[in-house]
């Protein structure tokens, strides 16, 4: 019987993979569902196994293409994916199995080096495991880039009746989907990382907090936990489902949410590592941070650390999103430039128009113009360039984008998602939307409220566009320095970078006549 591989990843299914799988099964194939390979331009994708075990890829395909696929004549024949530049250039440490194995097959996972890291960890004392993670140089992949080993050390050193491992799988950033792909395509890898963390710090229970927008991941994780429970023991793991609040990706809001409360950010200190979930010491790490750990323990921290750039060690699963030809997941060592990612790997825009801007790091990340494409992908280099790597999502826009509209959206999103704890974020975001509307001439500048003396430091005339831009910059400063967490604190990044790099998009409205009152 011919064996065919088709992805069951949510993105593949959204492109019609289920129909292809059904058509292959109807044609008498044995269909194995895998995770996604990571290049969505060639999805829906089918791989046919040859008699010597190699896989021949075809994509994109439609259900009616099945006969031509099976007799090998289909024009979208790609052949061996590993030789395709998009795949050949990657360094897949974390995503080695994703797209190759059946995500829920324990036999597949074990045969592809699964559980080796956990076995290696269990042969070591907890301190030695923490030392290995420190030596790997792994930094948190959730956004802040905090050294994972140091976080674990704090939890290991804490004495408490109970400790927790919490996996942050809230992945709310637009332009990111690596957590989702890993949870759907290789869930045991995440569970193995959590079991290693549990052994390292002495935790007995783990939670995976997954956003509700990820039903496929929730199903895969629940099934994987059930099957792997005997191996994970003494650690028990449970999935908690979010409820559509972006701010619950912030670690302390996430803990509140697991506790059954409103997802409001907690002031730090106390650090979650000392007083986290239910007041107990808690490791809270992103999916990708935890999923990097099995490789580090199995292959040795040096193997991980030898790849990278400056203080950013190891690999980053970069996500190419938006208007980009080769959209998908590209895992590579730090140090590759932004331009290589967007143009050489991503292939430029899908629309074929020039790239005008890319947003790196989700809704709180800065917009970069092509003139900054020589910036190397590295935490420090991005910070120096006025941006952040965040969760490594890169969203590409062509020249039809209106950057003032994107800046407005950043403020609007902050207003929708603010947890409400601090004023600069809760109120400032709404004022930001209004200010941008006035700059763009979408709202009348001569509103009575805006003309009141206390709104304008006793000036009597309406503000000019330049003055409104000054107000917007002031507001951004206040949000940046007056907010408790990065939602309010980093929303200024997209806004200010749009203003700095694309000022022409903010000058559209004609100056108001002086006599508006």
């Amino acid at each position: 019987m011919t064996r065919a591989y088709v992805s069951c990843d949510m993105a593949s299914v959204a492109l019609g993979a289920d129909d292809i799988a059904d058509a292959l099964a109807a044609a008498g194939c044995e269909v194995i569902r895998t995770g996604a390979r990571g290049l969505f331009a060639i999805e829906p994708l089918v791989e046919i196994e040859t008699t010597d075990g190699a896989r021949i890829a075809f994509g994109p395909v439609e259900p009616e293409d099945v006969p031509a696929i099976l007799d090998g004549t289909h024009p979208n024949r790609i052949g061996d994916l590993a030789t395709m530049p998009f795949f050949a250039k990657q360094q897949r440490f974390t995503f080695a199995r994703c797209g190759i194995t059946d995500p829920l097959s324990m036999a597949d996972y074990t045969a592809h080096d699964g559980w080796k890291g956990l076995a290696a960890a269990r042969a070591l004392a907890p301190q030695a495991v923490v030392d290995a993670v420190k030596a790997s140089g792994l930094r948190g992949r959730g956004g802040a880039g905090f050294p994972t080993g140091i976080k674990w050390q704090t939890v290991l050193d804490a004495t408490a009746p109970e400790k927790f491992i919490v996996c942050n799988a809230d992945e709310g950033d637009s332009g990111t989907f690596a957590d989702r792909m890993l949870m759907e395509g290789d869930p045991y890898c995440l569970l193995e990382g959590m079991a290693i963390a549990g052994h390292a710090v002495g935790a007995s229970h783990g939670y995976i907090y997954v956003r509700s927008e990820y039903p496929f991941a929730i199903r895969a994780l629940n099934a994987a936990i059930e099957r792997a429970a005997p191996i994970l023991a003494p650690l028990t793991v449970e999935v908690r489902v979010g409820a559509g609040a972006y701010v619950c990706g912030e670690e302390t809001a996430l803990l509140e949410s697991i506790e059954g409360k409103r997802g409001q950010v907690r002031a730090k200190p106390p650090l979650p590592a000392i007083q986290g979930l239910f007041g107990q010491p808690t490791v809270i790490n992103n999916v990708l941070s935890l999923a990097a750990v099995p490789f580090i323990l199995a292959e040795g921290p040096e193997r991980y650390a030898e790849v990278g750039f400056g203080r950013s060690r190891g690999t980053m699963p970069v996500q190419l999103a938006g208007n980009v030809k080769n959209g998908g997941l590209f895992e590579i060592g730090f140090g590759i430039t932004l331009g290589e990612l967007v143009n050489a790997i991503g292939g430029g825009t899908e629309s074929g128009r020039p790239v005008r801007a890319v947003q790196v790091g989700g809704p709180l990340g800065a917009y970069f113009p092509p003139s900054m494409f020589d910036t190397p992908f590295d935490y420090e280099a991005f910070a120096a360039a006025g941006g952040l790597i965040g969760h490594a999502g890169i969203t590409v826009f062509d020249d039809s984008v209106d950057m003032a509209a994107m800046a407005r959206f950043a403020m609007e999103f902050c207003a929708i998602e603010s947890c409400g704890k601090c004023t600069p974020c809760r109120i400032g975001s709404t004022r930001g939307v209004e200010t941008i509307d006035r700059i763009k001439g979408a709202a009348k500048r001569e509103q009575a409220l805006e003309a009141m003396p206390q709104m304008r430091n006793a000036k009597v005339k309406h503000r000019s566009v330049d003055e409104e831009i000054g107000v917007l910059r002031d507001l951004c400063e206040t949000m940046k320095f007056g907010s408790l967490c990065a939602l309010g604190g980093f929303t200024p990044y997209p806004v200010l970078s749009a203003l700095d790099h694309f000022p022409e998009d903010f000058g559209g409205a004609p100056a108001l006549p002086q006599a508006a009152e």
């Binding site: 949510m10 993105a11 299914v13 959204a14 492109l15 969505f40 999805e43 992945e171 709310g172 950033d173 637009s174 332009g175 990111t176 989907f177 957590d179 989702r180 509700s212 927008e213 990820y214 039903p215 908690r240 489902v241 979010g242 409820a243 559509g244 609040a245 972006y246 949410s257 697991i258 506790e259 059954g260 409360k261 409103r262 997802g263 409001q264 239910f278 996500q319 190419l320 999103a321 938006g322 208007n323 980009v324 959209g327 998908g328 899908e350 947003q359 809704p363 999502g393 969203t395 590409v396 826009f397 062509d398 984008v401 994107m406 959206f409 999103f413 929708i416 998602e417």
Partner: protein
């Protein structure tokens, strides 16, 4: 629209989470899965079952975007309006869907047939514009797929 046996439904579901720490969100999800929304009348029942104050339960129900305080339409179309889908032209798709459904975003049709709602990222950002149609993901939305969606939610 509020089930007569709301009391029993909440009670049975609450038993399922008895003794679990932080049971409120799982319980509210379960109620919404069963009833379709979280009626105000459920709030005191949940509060009693979990030994919380009504204010705490009300605070949680209103904080999270997922919990519906009114019944949804029989069909639910959720369209992603976040950045990566904007970069792939969701603006025009929103206008077209809104026209065809006869509904602005974030509203339910008067006959209770369909709700049209915004979401912010479905994690399908390389293949947008994206929607969830009755929980099924659809990528690369175009005129043809809009036709299919409209037909699907017409019944």
């Amino acid at each position: 629209m509020i089930p007569d046996d709301l009391d029993t439904i909440v009670g049975t579901l609450a038993d399922r989470f008895a003794g679990e720490r932080g049971a409120l969100l799982p319980l509210l999800h379960a109620i919404q899965a069963e009833v379709g929304w979280v009626p105000d009348a459920a709030i005191p029942l949940v509060a009693r079952a979990l030994n919380l104050s009504r204010a705490e339960v009300h605070g949680v129900v209103t904080f999270y975007h997922d919990f519906r305080r009114e019944p949804a339409g029989r069909h639910i179309v959720k369209l992603c309006l976040a950045e990566a889908c904007k970069a792939r032209g969701v603006g025009a798709i929103e206008t077209a869907l809104s026209d065809r459904l006869g509904l602005p975003i974030d509203e339910t049709s008067e006959d209770g047939r369909v709700s049209f709602e915004a979401v912010y990222c479905l994690g399908l950002c390389a293949t947008g514009p994206n929607a969830l149609v009755n929980d099924k993901p659809v990528s690369r939305l175009d005129a043809h797929k809009i036709d299919r969606i409209v037909a699907q939610v017409s019944a």
